[in-house]
Amino acid sequence: MVLLSRKATCNSHGQDSSYFLGWEEYEKNPYDVIKNPQGIIQMGLAENQLCFDLLESWLEQNQDAACFKQDGQSIFRELALFQDYHGLSSFKNALADFMSENRGNRVSFDSNNLVLTAGATSANETLMFCLADPGDAFLIPTPYYPGFDRDLKWRTGVEIVPIQCSSTNGFQITKLALEEAYEQAKKLDLNVKGILITNPSNPLGTTTTRTELNILFDFISKHKNIHLVSDEIYSGTVFNSSEFVSVMEILKNNKLENTDVFNRVHIVYSLSKDLGLPGFRVGAIYSNDKDVISAATKMSSFGLVSSQTQYLLSSLLSDKKFTKNYLRENQNRLKNRQRKLVSGLEAIGIKCLDESNAGLFCWVDMRHLLGSKTFDAEMDLWKKIVYQVKLNISPGSSCHCVEPGWFRVCFANMSEETLKLALKRLKKFVDDETSKRSCQKSESQRLKGSRKKKITNISNWVFRLSFQDREADER
């Protein structure tokens, strides 16, 4: 028996959770309109596949960037050798501008405060390594992205303490919930180093409100050792940019530039969702604290962005005409697609979270379809949806939701036809479930009635009842 590290032998990578199991099932039997029309439709993957045509047409018109050329000369060699962890400055400048545009240019970003990382996965882990020691804790509002359990905790030794949010107020963060989480951490003898929010939220598909942001800022103003990390990876998926309030905006509007709070607020970003380029592994950390930038930059050595990719994207994002058009088109297409899902679900009697105005998914309320208000019942329902209905959606428990019955359903990683098919399958399932229930209901009512009769031969009575039952089903 060969000894490996504790990290290698434990389960903190989080990949035994149902979130990943659903993926595995999908991998075994993936839907394909021609090759496998009965397969599982992937609705558990928050990907943005709606705007590839815009990227492709830009590439067609900008072949120089595509072919590693600058002013007609091949710069392949320079790119091949470029491994400076400060990143390609033209790329960082373009990225900083793009981030501003995403926020309606209400704030501006300094490219010197940007650190490039291999995806947001790496950015989040790197920030934990910079801000917290093993055994320290970060407070995170539930429900949250299941990947955080791996990204924030696994190799860093940092703990997550949930800020419990509930459907009573649309899962918004309350002052009470925040303070309870803080107290809970203290009870567990954990030193709280920060709060991490995802804004817009995954899995809720909503932007964080000003009220919530003010609660958070009040808290970190009071607790001077606590950082606020805002994962704004979905910032470009807000259907209407004016509804998105970034933490950077709060810093600016509340004039916090010369306070200690300024250095304790950090953003994580990526091009995986907004541009639909998860394969390119482009993540970023933005901070006003030069020590964080310095440490994170050195750590980025463990996961730099390929220079080839930096160069391509610096050209793409420097094209302001393209970015303006792209952002607008992206928002429109996402909004339209979301509306189709929401109305389709409504027609089946399934509601989505109110006020959802962003993201690549809906937070769907299936509590009324649960056998009981338990997570076991949620798992039962989820298994039916994956194995019978053949839709891979994500159960709320995998997102650490405190209430059973909520599911995250993605809509931006498929064609409209596939979405329609998914809704059709779901409708059939819900209709079947509903009629099963009404049969069960009338059956239990019948049972109540027959118990009142005096019956001498119990077995005859049972036989007669079950025969009648079968007849009812065939109808």
Partner: protein
């Protein structure tokens, strides 16, 4: 006063211990050389008196061969007209298994660079953020904080960061001596193992770089077998960093640990792991293609999950897959690379021979291990540092002092040769010639020299004070291969 202290303490507490400490290794005084180069980089036309970069182990000799291929194969890019129809599939591909064609092509390439004497299984190929990311991942998989890895000296300084910084793992040096060509002996291994035990450091593995950085030597079959046997017996892991596998030239042949384990009966393969990368063999450090290849299934599984923190860009995977599947190109590239490395190495060694400067016999790597022990005032590292500063500031060559590689003996310097063209090499050799002849002048008896010579101080004994006006830049650090490095003269001269 009290509140100032409290505030400062609070500021210090704001970052983690890892972030506020020195574990990144970039505060070492060895960055003076890089700084000098950064301030005054050599350019044959614009700055002929600038510092020549000989501290950067990069393979820039075959960039033209590579570029020719890239221009000839637009379909290898997903962005060109020819490759565009693959764009969206590649752009969304973030599966940590990596593109199958990428893994197959890399496995094939690894076989070619080991003269096709071993087979590599594409399913054991795990991606990482360069070899930097690969080493850290392996450390996370095999060791807990406080554990140790044995590492033969001299070794690549980056290991101090890559293996220790965020992992909390210790490095225990295995001392190697010039008296036997810096061979890794079983006695040295046992001594280091014992020392670790005495210091209460549980040893979890042995990390060796073969071909060696900074020595440029390759391990022979017997030595490799002894390392495998030693680690097997102690039930510790053997990590072979084979990043310079294809940089062998001349007579020497590279023998991979993959080959040797086939020849050892009852070898416990669960203890054998290889770290690889395309940064040196192919000269593509910017593309961040690191590989963990383990014979241990569980390590493959876990390292693959960890690769999420440093996957190779799918755009790059696609390009590499196409490039490395072109076997004719790969054969031509490896062949050309070896020829050019041999030629550049010969140029340097012939020049040094002519000046009576010794160097360690070696036929691999992108550098030479130069022997300047006889130029030291005293056999101390202080003297080595003094000599080094003279080489940087007067001779204007950025070379790397042996002390920065944890060499046991002062007086050795690593000199890189594959990141410059022929003219720059000539210039470097000329500067060394001038320097050594100045030294000869100074050692002539006083009576036979002119008044001018009397006034001349021994240049390397002068009290050279380095002035750093810009502390911020110094703190930013330059040592990491990922630190800001202006384009090497070779590349700049072409553009």
């Amino acid at each position: 006063m009290v509140s100032f202290v409290t505030e400062k303490k609070q500021n210090l507490n704001l970052l983690s211990r890892i972030a506020s400490g020195d574990g990144h290794g970039e505060n070492s005084s060895y960055f003076d050389g890089w700084k000098a180069y950064e301030e005054n980089p050599f350019h044959p036309i614009d700055r002929p008196d600038g510092v020549i970069q000989m501290g950067l182990a990069e393979n820039q000799l075959c960039g033209d061969v590579m570029r020719k291929w890239v221009l000839k194969h637009p379909e290898a890019s997903i962005c060109t007209e020819q490759g565009l129809n693959g764009f969206s599939d590649i752009a969304i591909f973030q599966d940590y298994h990596g593109l199958p064609e990428f893994r197959q092509a890399v496995a094939k390439f690894m076989e070619k660079t080991r003269n096709n004497r071993v087979k590599f299984d594409p399913d054991r190929i795990v991606m990482s953020g360069g070899a930097t990311g690969a080493h850290e991942t392996v450390a996370f998989c095999l060791a807990n904080p406080g554990d140790g890895f044995l590492v033969p000296t001299p070794y690549y300084p980056g290991f101090d960061r890559d293996l220790r910084w965020r992992t909390g793992v210790n490095l225990v040096p295995v001392t190697c001596h010039s008296s036997d060509g810096f061979k890794i002996t079983v006695e040295a291994l046992e001594a280091a193992y014992e020392k670790a035990r005495e210091s209460n450091i549980p040893v979890k593995g042995l990390l060796m770089t073969n071909p060696s950085n900074p020595l440029g030597t390759t391990l022979d079959r017997e030595c490799l077998k002894s390392l495998v046997k030693f680690t097997n017996e102690k039930k510790i892991h053997l990590i072979a960093d084979e990043i310079y596998a294809a940089t062998t030239f001349g007579q020497s042949e590279f023998i991979s640990v993959a080959e040797v384990i086939e020849e050892i009966e009852d070898c416990n393969r669960d203890l054998i792991h290889i770290v690889y990368s395309l940064s040196k063999d192919m000269g593509l450090p910017g593309f961040r293609v690191g590989i963990v290849y383990s014979y241990n299934d569980r390590v493959v599984q876990i390292a693959r999950k960890m690769s999420s923190f440093g996957l190779v860009s799918s755009q790059t995977q696609h390009l590499i897959a196409k490039m490395l599947s072109d076997e004719d190109f790969v054969d031509e590239f490896i062949r050309e690379s070896k020829l050019r490395l041999a030629a550049r190495h010969a140029e340097l060694t012939t020049g040094l021979d002519g000046l009576g400067i010794g160097w360690l016999k070696a036929e691999a790597g992108l550098f030479l291990w130069m022997d300047l022990r006889n130029l030291l005032k005293t056999a101390t590292f202080d003297s080595e540092t003094e000599l080094w500063r003279v080489i940087i500031h007067q001779v204007k060559l950025n070379v790397s002092p042996g002390g920065s590689f944890h060499c046991h003996e002062p007086g050795w310097f690593r000199v890189c040769f594959a990141n410059m063209d022929h003219k720059t090499m000539e210039t470097a050799l000329e500067r060394i010639r001038v320097f050594t002849s100045q030294l000869e002048e100074e050692t002539k008896p006083m009576a036979s020299t002119t008044m001018m010579a009397k006034k001349k101080k021994k240049c390397w004994q002068s009290n050279l004070r380095l002035s750093f006006n810009d502390k911020r830049r110094f703190d930013d650090g330059f040592f990491s291969p990922h630190s800001p490095v202006p384009p090497s003269p070779l590349v700049r001269a072409q553009t």
